[in-house]
């Protein structure tokens, strides 16, 4: 494998008003690896994730994906990148409540221009793969939290992204459901070869990673990429 990092953040600084969210944060994500971003709440791990994904723009510093500088891109270019190359799983409230589960999963494909029928077929496959094929026609409000998270994972992976950003994906679940979601999520991500950036404060969730990076006071202590 050519050892070039997929996603590089260098010297990121970001302020929210008076609060320093990122203070010279740097991180490298290699293709196909699962990295856990850990740290106490308010340490800046979610902010770092949003910067890596091009959702937030840092005040200074650089984020490069495949050598392309995200911070220099226009908003629509970054949106297109997120549509095509990235996937997202959040803690909760991420499924569009009025769309059915299969429509939610099909959404990223349709946003990238795939036809409705084709998108729904692929989405159904992904729901089956995450063992929630039976909820395809239901609305998010009608399924359990664990099922909803698995639908969200299916949606994050459906467009075969190179990186999946997961922000406390099991934060709202009990341990049994959390384990199931993580197992299915990481297995599926490894199958597709996607890298995963996993923000969590739970060690058992972080244990699904290949290595961890600890964020404290806006800085990153990164564990060596062991390869």
């Amino acid at each position: 494998m050519t050892e070039q990092p997929l996603l590089v953040a260098e010297g990121l600084h970001l302020h929210f008003g008076e609060t320093k969210a990122l203070d010279d944060a740097s991180l490298h994500i290699w293709p196909g690896e699962v990295v856990a971003l850990m740290g106490p709440s308010g340490s800046g791990k979610s902010t770092l994730l949003h910067c890596l994904a091009g959702i937030l723009q840092p005040d200074s510093g650089r984020v490069a994906y495949h050598g392309r500088d995200l911070t220099a891109m226009s908003d629509s270019e970054r949106s297109a990148l997120r549509r095509g190359e990235f996937g997202f799983v959040f803690q909760f409230g991420q499924l569009v409540p009025e769309l059915t589960c299969v429509e939610n999963v099909a959404l990223p494909l349709r946003l990238s221009g795939t036809g409705r029928r084709e998108a729904h077929r692929t989405a159904t496959d992904w729901l089956e793969r995450l063992e929630v094929g039976d909820v395809a026609g239901k609305r998010p409000g009608q399924v359990s939290g664990g099922q909803g998270q698995r639908v969200a994972v299916a949606r994050a992976l459906v467009s075969r992204p190179r990186v999946v950003f997961a922000d406390e994906p099991t934060g709202a679940l009990d341990s049994l459901n959390g384990e199931l979601v993580m197992k299915l999520f990481i297995t599926a991500a490894r199958d597709t070869g996607a890298a995963v950036v996993l923000v969590t404060h739970e060690a058992r969730v972080a244990a699904y990673s290949d290595r961890e990076a600890v964020v404290r006071d806006g800085r990153v202590r990164e564990q060596e990429h062991a390869r």
């Binding site: 949003h50 990235f86 946003l111």
Partner: protein, 750 residues
């Protein structure tokens, strides 16, 4: 629990609700402000309407006080306290100017109200509004050969915009003037035409219904946040009844505030009306006192309705300690009871299609019509939710924006529909009234008129001046193309009086279509074409064999028996009586009509100049149309505002979903598209229903006034255009919120 204890509890609970309505921080205040603004505008409208009767009465009273007391039963002998007056009322553009010529006959002549000293010959008194009009339009100043020596006081004017003058003169005689002893005339009820009554009644309903609908939706602003708050109250142990009373208390606070806002707004409107209103709607501030009963009704009714609406809205919602359960998501809307009102409305309106009947309105028919229209319009507001529900559930497919919008509407169409029902009701009403008004207009003005190029006018002198003097003066007036003289005479036939008009073919064309007219022809309207007529003043006239029966123009429909004679046919059987002049004007000459009026007034201030159209009716129609248009625009702006609020509120609730959509790369275009469609789909459905209802209603009303039933494409076009503007405006106004809420920072706020 004792009755008194319960009362105290209830008051406490209502008060708790009222406190909670302002305790929600900025959001709570915003919600309260919206409710207060919404109900305030409604209350202001209601108060203005409640003040209208008193204001109309006050201005009507002053109008009678300045009208000369003429007693047709009794000859008034000339005396020290009499005066001759002439009616010099004229028109400037479309505004009527009340005018009297005053000629005292002794040392104690009657003085009209608002006047301290009578003007001497060559002098005139004008109302302040007329003085301004003359200053702005010098052409009007040249109408009278008189100097303005003063103004008429408020006592002698119907309102601040009243145009009036008194002209001092010494040229009146007993023949050309009227002798009076006093001013002040008690009218016997003039009898408003049933058509006008119908129009007014329908117009009121059309304006009031959307106000009701709007107020009903205004008190539901921010309902979701309130429901959450109430759920928290349930958690700490309040029961269902208490919860309802607390909710009522919240709404009550907004409604009471709305009453205050409405009173302030109404006072502002009164000030504006005093300052800027024209025509019959111009009143003095002191005139505008709401009828006490109506004011009390508003003060008690608005809060009561607000509470009732809140309670009925909560009927569909079960507030449980752990959250809010919406019953409406499981209960499909039923159709049958929504049909009751419109069907009842049609049942009331149907008998009207046979015509209103003759004579002044009795009131019962108009009430029936107004009730029918109200039922139909309210029924429309009830039918719309069902229709949107039914249609939206059959929609599918399409792009992502479409899918998001449609699915959203499927889940909860209530919020969107509430705002739209206001639009639908006012559009349906406007289409109905516009259709009715334009139908009446075509009846009044006759079809095929080309007012721009050639305008036919008639001059009716009151004073005896030689025909030659008139024709010369008229021909010299700029813009006058032709002048034809028509002599008027009277004849008798079988005991009934027949009006005779003698003039050239061109002059007579104004009364009826005269195919192949040549000099020597005679035409009859509503009278026999053969035989002998007795001529008033002595003599006889025999109808020539060529006399033809013709159909008169619309404006002469009710004129009774009429003979139209060319000079050669009249022989010399008829005496040279009064003459009137028919002119054509070149519409391209600026102020041609005003120049003509000037000429006529200078020759004889009492001369009447009138066009083919029915000016009084036309201007009343114009007022109604303008009022309706202004009202509708105000309504649409209000409804647009409430839609913006709804959309913004809904987006705030969904900000997390929106932020997530942005996170995985949804284009802004897709999201704004879904907002647009979300507003457009219900509006489109509402408009369709409104156009259907409105056109149907217009058809019934047209049949009632016996006008040909037509579809008012212009009205449909303008209202649809306005509705489209509201949708676009709503979306545009919601976009900043959308952009702000979709800033990715919202992913973190939980």
């Amino acid at each position: 629990m004792t009755g008194r204890g319960r009362l105290r509890r209830w008051i406490f609970e209502l008060g708790l609700g009222a406190r909670m309505s302002v305790a929600g921080g900025r959001a709570g205040w915003a919600r309260l402000t919206l409710i207060a603004a919404g109900t305030g505008v409604g209350v202001a409208l209601l108060l203005c309407l409640a003040a209208l009767p008193a204001a109309l009465e006050a201005s009507g009273d002053r109008e009678s006080a300045r009208t000369e007391a003429v007693d047709s039963e009794r000859e008034v002998p000339r005396g020290d306290g009499t005066m001759l007056i002439g009616i010099a009322t004229t028109t400037f553009h479309d505004d009527a100017i009340h005018g009297r010529m005053l000629q005292p006959e002794g040392s104690r002549p009657p003085v009209p109200p608002g006047v301290t000293a009578l003007p001497k010959p060559g002098e005139m008194l004008v109302s302040p509004a007329l003085r301004r009009l003359i200053e702005d339009n010098p052409v009007l100043g040249r109408r009278w050969e008189a100097r303005i020596v003063g103004t008429i006081g408020d006592d002698g004017l119907t309102g601040p915009a009243d145009l009036a003058f008194y002209l001092g003169t010494d040229t009146l005689t007993e023949d050309t003037g009227r002798r009076i002893e006093a001013f002040g005339h008690s009218y016997t009820e003039e009898g408003v035409s049933p058509v006008m009554l119908l129009l007014t009644a329908v117009g009121m309903v059309v304006l009031l219904t959307p106000v009701m609908v709007f107020m009903a939706s205004a008190v539901r602003f921010g309902g979701e946040a309130r429901d959450k708050r109430l759920a928290a109250l349930r958690l700490v142990g309040s029961d269902a009844g208490m919860t309802r009373r607390i909710a009522a208390g919240e709404t009550l606070a907004g409604a009471v505030l709305g009453l205050l806002v409405g009173t302030v707004l109404a006072a502002g409107a009164a000030l504006l009306a005093h300052r800027y209103a024209t025509g019959p709607l111009s009143f003095y501030l002191s005139d505008m006192r709401p009828v006490p009963v109506l004011a009390a009704l508003i003060a008690l009714g608005v809060p009561a309705v607000a509470v009732l609406v809140t309670l009925s809205a909560m009927r569909r919602v079960v507030v449980e300690p752990l959250g809010v359960v919406r019953l409406s998501t499981t209960v499909r809307r039923r159709l049958w009871w929504r049909l009751i009102l419109p069907v009842a409305g049609i049942a009331l309106l149907w008998p009207l299609t046979n015509g209103l009947g003759e004579g002044p309105g009795s009131g019962a028919t108009e009430f029936q019509a107004a009730a029918g229209v109200a039922l139909l319009l309210i029924g429309l507001a009830l039918l719309l939710p069902w229709l949107v529900d039914a249609v939206v559930h059959r929609l599918g497919g399409g792009g992502v924006a479409w899918e998001l919008a449609v699915r959203r509407l499927q889940l909860d169409s209530g919020t969107a529909v509430r705002a739209v029902s206001g639009i639908a009701v006012s559009v349906a009403g406007v289409i109905a009234v516009q259709g009715l008004v334009s139908a009446i207009e075509t009846q009044v003005t006759g079809s095929g008129g080309t007012p721009a190029a050639v305008a036919r006018q008639q001059v009716l002198p009151q004073t005896d001046l030689p025909v030659g003097t008139w024709t010369t003066a008229l021909r010299e007036t700029p813009g006058v193309q032709t002048v034809e003289t028509v002599r008027i005479a009277r004849a008798g036939r079988d005991g009934s009086e027949v009006t005779v008009r003698i003039g050239s073919c061109a002059a007579l064309e104004g009364y009826a279509a005269l195919p192949g007219c040549t000099d020597g022809d005679a035409f009859a309207v509503n009278v026999a074409t053969t035989g002998v007529f007795t001529v008033e003043g002595g003599g006889q006239w025999t109808a020539p064999a060529s006399t033809r029966d013709v159909v008169p123009t619309d404006s002469l429909l009710d004129y009774g028996p009429l003979l139209l004679l060319t000079p050669a046919a009249a022989a010399d059987a008829f005496p040279a009586g009064e003459a009137r002049y028919t002119l054509t004007l070149d519409g391209r000459t600026p102020n041609a009509l005003e120049q003509l009026r000037n000429t006529a007034a200078r020759m004889d201030p009492q001369a009447l100049v009138y066009g083919a159209g029915n000016d009084a009716v036309a201007s009343a129609l114009r007022t109604i149309r303008q009022g309706l248009l202004a009202g509708t625009i105000a309504m649409l702006v209000l409804i647009g505002a409430s839609m913006v609020v709804n959309v913004a509120e809904q987006m705030r609730e969904r900000r997390r979903v929106l932020a997530v959509l942005v996170a995985f790369g949804t284009r802004r275009r897709t999201m704004s598209g879904s907002v647009l469609l979300q507003a457009a789909v219900p509006v489109l459905l509402g408009m369709t229903l409104a156009i259907g209802f409105g056109s149907g209603l217009a058809a019934i009303l047209m049949a009632a006034v016996q006008a040909p039933v037509t579809v008012d494409w212009f009205g449909i076009g303008t209202t649809s255009g306005m509705a489209a503007l509201v949708v676009l405006g709503t979306t545009a106004a919601a976009l900043p919120t959308l952009l702000r809420l979709t800033r990715p920072g919202n992913l973190r706020s939980e």
